[in-house]
Symmetry: D2
Subunit: 341 residues, 4 copies
């Protein structure tokens, strides 16, 4: 059984494990103030081309979202998110548990548009309603699409006009930035959003996300929030060592590139076979619609998620590739698809 | 510079790193439902001598405390804790951030007594006050003391009389259970408390605490709370692999025993030198009171925490040993203390 | 300028003020434990035909909703509400501020249906999402419709099947129960929901809602929640005296009947004039769609709310009548509508 | 049975009821934006000698505290309060329920001192702890003492030095300002604190507190917080009409003066009888220590609260007078004390 279920089925990239082994007995101070974290932050700042950002390493994505959002907002302020946004759907009410409402907007292919933002602002007019304050987006999105520079720039402008913060969930930012359709860079993103995170967990690390706070007014006392929400690891080094390794050279991007390449290979085959997909994916997640009888047979050899039934005979599934996806497994899957379709 | 500052200055015990390396490319399902977590839970249950407990692996201690307490309590219910309790002092208001008040009691040597519990219950009489519902204790405590079986039994009985839950923070449970003064076991603890956790982070793991829920009514839907608070790791395997290794044989206990032995060696030397300590420690933390001029000289070679000034010329410091503490460093410290005192 | 803006533009029904004046210098214990509150609760229980309910008087509607919902739910549990539900739209995020997500469903004419409930349950399948636990409905609804017995019975059954609590916001329950289309009674409601409230503020009282808790498991410690959320008035008598007066005889129902009759009179006239309405109203709120030029002229003599523009020339407005609406004002409005349309 | 139990045993001062009756059928807009609220706010501003404050009317004291504090603080910030502070003891965890820890300090006679503030600041040094941000005081205090101008000035200075907000709970501010020992005014208070409230409920109103926000940065969006916490009354006029009446002339102060005079009369008699008191009271609350056998006999004619047992034979009780306390009842109580002691 080979899994195309997600991008966190394996451990970490071997270079990361080696880095952990090599540094293991070096003593370091706790709680994210160690030299590994400092060096990792410096490497990321260099990559952004900016010194004036704050970088914090946080174990997981839901945690990063809830800490950042609850730190940034006052009690009556709300988040605008697309209906498919991770904070809306798959975080067990984490944002609401910190006291904040999420205003959903339909979005387009999983992406929030300036029109979504404007609608939210226009329909929230007084103190009987929450006050929209932060637009939440994911790049790559939860349905495998990515933001172009033009799209992000337009959204950023709409947010600034309405005094909204713009926050990017980058759980799969590696995949977005190495997509064939991408024209953004870490530096451009930092210029257009108020804060974002660079996902490690889904791109080769054991755990860890690097939160980048770009806007000065959001930086103050941020470590208090990390601690209060239980995300300040005693052995903060665990996060620093991993991100230092990912950004020491191009490892972070190479791993994402491999994931994308594997997904593209499957997508090409699916297109050749006339298979319909939810949308043309330029990241590491595909949502093909396949006959149930084919899915039953695939399920004997491969693990994947059924997204939703489409009709009596067809279902949409989610296929995910990762830094660790074996090309031979991809080839075998394609072979099997060819013989079944 | 050698650090006696804490028990999380190094990475993980080498056997744990090896286990991570060996299993690295095995695919596993996410979010703590992998075989490694299941096996680790089974090993711990065996050690407890009970099958009827629920075990959840959570990245850190503050997080485990806040998830468990907020899951167990209704909004008007409060925690009783000693003044030195970690939840009261060093969690940046994590418990209050989930909505619950902490009622502090003086305690005795960092331990909560039945009298503390009774005072809290007696002084909270009606709906104008919070309702005490959970007694929080740490074993070993934040000042290095441990609970005897008699003490824990008496406290457990007081709690049950007053319908209070008893929760044990076991960040340093390994040290407590391998203390020369200890007469508790994991099984006895499970019989006397409603929930407790077994700390990995401070006893050889990279991260990770194993929460054990003993009381049936507290078990329902617990995974929702882990997810909502951002503590459900996509690569939950990271926790399972580590705890499987710690409990595959006696590694967990051997690591704690080493830490205790190193602390005892330093404590013996301090006593021989006529040095005063906050209390006789039977765990891996010592709080000696030393002349400031001695501390200034020690600080050139060793890293440690100054707990508090005692008078113009003396301060209390905290010395902590761990599974990784080198005996040669301990010997050198003792040598230096002898020549300075 | 005469206001049809809402049902809280005046003070209280004169009998209520008289009752406050008459009892004014009688001493009574505080915090809702006075004889007035006890007597009022007894009168309501008699009207329900049940002794086994708990009744609490709370100053306002948003407050009643937030206290009840946060007391009834555990942290991971969520509310299901129609898109037009007061808790979703017009409470400034009050429910989320207590930590709970609201799952919205389209509903039908402002009412939640068994299908809405089932969809919410089916799409929330695991601990990555919130757990639906309470269905929130309003009767009369925010758009002026009411639940029939058959509708409420079907919804109640769907909730019980899925172990959901059913909670009815009765801010305008008086209007619903005296509607010409109504076949429910307070007793039938108490049998079908887990808790509901009887609105005083919008039916002749200065302030005050009577929360009725029908299900035993929801009753425990409820006064703690009232106090914690700041809703336990020192002079709780203020609420008791008013509800005692409303339920001493049929005053509560007579006041609502007057409001309904006034609305019906306007609605009849609008229909005769061929005016379109959002829906046929059987309560005290109407949502007619009128030409903007007519609205401009009406606005010189009458105060009302513009709900939303429908096209370039027409808008939907909200007209509300109350216990205090003068029939002469209604007649004048009708006259004016006739001359303008 | 005559009650000296509290200052909210009766309804409202007759002039307030008359004002409600007279204005009853005048239509007004809802939610605190009516002319009565505006006029009341103007009258209070005139009394303060300042136009640059924001005034909000809120139904109750616990509610005012929780709304103001949760609106003013970010999630990691904490309140400093004396051990006897209402927010610490008697609000059922209302502040913690909004997410904030209360740091208690011993205080002196129920009052917070600059030393208390400094201790709190000094012992909260980093992000592992909460960050002290707001000092909470009550005037009059919960034990009947009041702040002198010098005390408040010193405390205000200490707060400003440490960038702490100073908030005054004025549930019994009328009593404090009309005390024979008082040298503060509403204007002086407004200059020394960041926000405070003027209590109506305990000084002749049915319900209602007037929150005065003095510091600009705390004013923004405040009505959102009132709404979100359920404290924005549909019939906001109820609060405006009452405060307009209290501040139309000197009624507010006259009512408090009567309460103080009645308490002073009892205190004088107690001193003459050699009775010990917790402290010399200059407000409307007395805490005498009396023999239990005397208390048993008093309890047959008078209602009061037993504060705490002092020894086997004596207890401290709380006696409270109000605007409504009958002088003849006071005289009778004194007579009875004389014959019993």
């Amino acid at each position: 059984m080979y899994s195309f279920r997600d991008d966190y089925s394996e451990g970490a990239h071997p270079r990361i494990l080696s880095a952990l082994v090599e540094t293991n007995l070096e003593q370091a101070v706790g709680y994210g103030e160690d030299r590994f974290c400092l060096q990792a932050a410096e490497l990321i700042k260099k990559r952004l081309g900016r010194e004036d950002v704050d970088i914090h390493f946080i174990p997981g994505g839901t945690q990063t979202n809830l800490i950042a959002i609850s730190a940034f907002l006052r009690p009556h302020e709300a988040v605008i998110a697309p209906l498919t946004g991770h904070v809306e759907v798959h975080e067990a009410g984490a944002i609401e548990a910190t006291g904040h409402k999420i205003i959903t907007s339909p979005g387009s292919e999983g992406k929030l548009t300036p029109a979504d933002v404007e609608r939210a602002v226009e329909t929230h007019t007084d103190e009987h309603m929450v006050k929209p304050r932060l637009a939440y987006i994911s790049n790559a999105t939860e349905v495998g699409s990515i933001y172009t520079e033009a799209e992000l720039r337009a959204l950023s402008q709409a947010c600034r006009e309405h005094k909204l913060l713009l926050f990017m969930d980058g759980a799969r930012l590696g995949s977005a930035l190495t997509s064939s359709k991408n024209d953004l860079t870490l530096g451009k993103i930092a210029a257009l959003v108020d804060a974002f995170y660079i996902g490690g967990t889904k791109n080769g690390a054991l755990i860890g996300e690097a939160l980048v706070i770009c806007t000065d007014s959001l930086k103050e006392d941020f470590r208090f929030h990390i601690k209060q929400k239980g995300a300040m690891l005693a052995k903060g080094r665990l996060l620093g060592i991993q991100f230092r390794e990912l950004f020491r050279d191009n490892l972070f991007f190479e791993l994402a590139q491999h994931a994308n390449a594997m997904a593209a290979k499957i997508q090409d085959a699916l297109f050749q076979l006339g298979c319909e997909l939810l949308l043309f994916s330029s990241s590491n997640m595909l949502f093909p619609i396949l006959p149930n009888r084919v899915l039953d047979q695939l399920a004997e050899k491969y693990s994947f998620t059924v997204s939703q039934p489409m009709d009596a005979d067809h279902s949409m599934i989610r296929l995910v590739t990762s830094w660790a996806t074996r090309e031979s497994a991809v080839d075998e899957l394609i072979q099997d698809l060819r013989s079944l379709l």
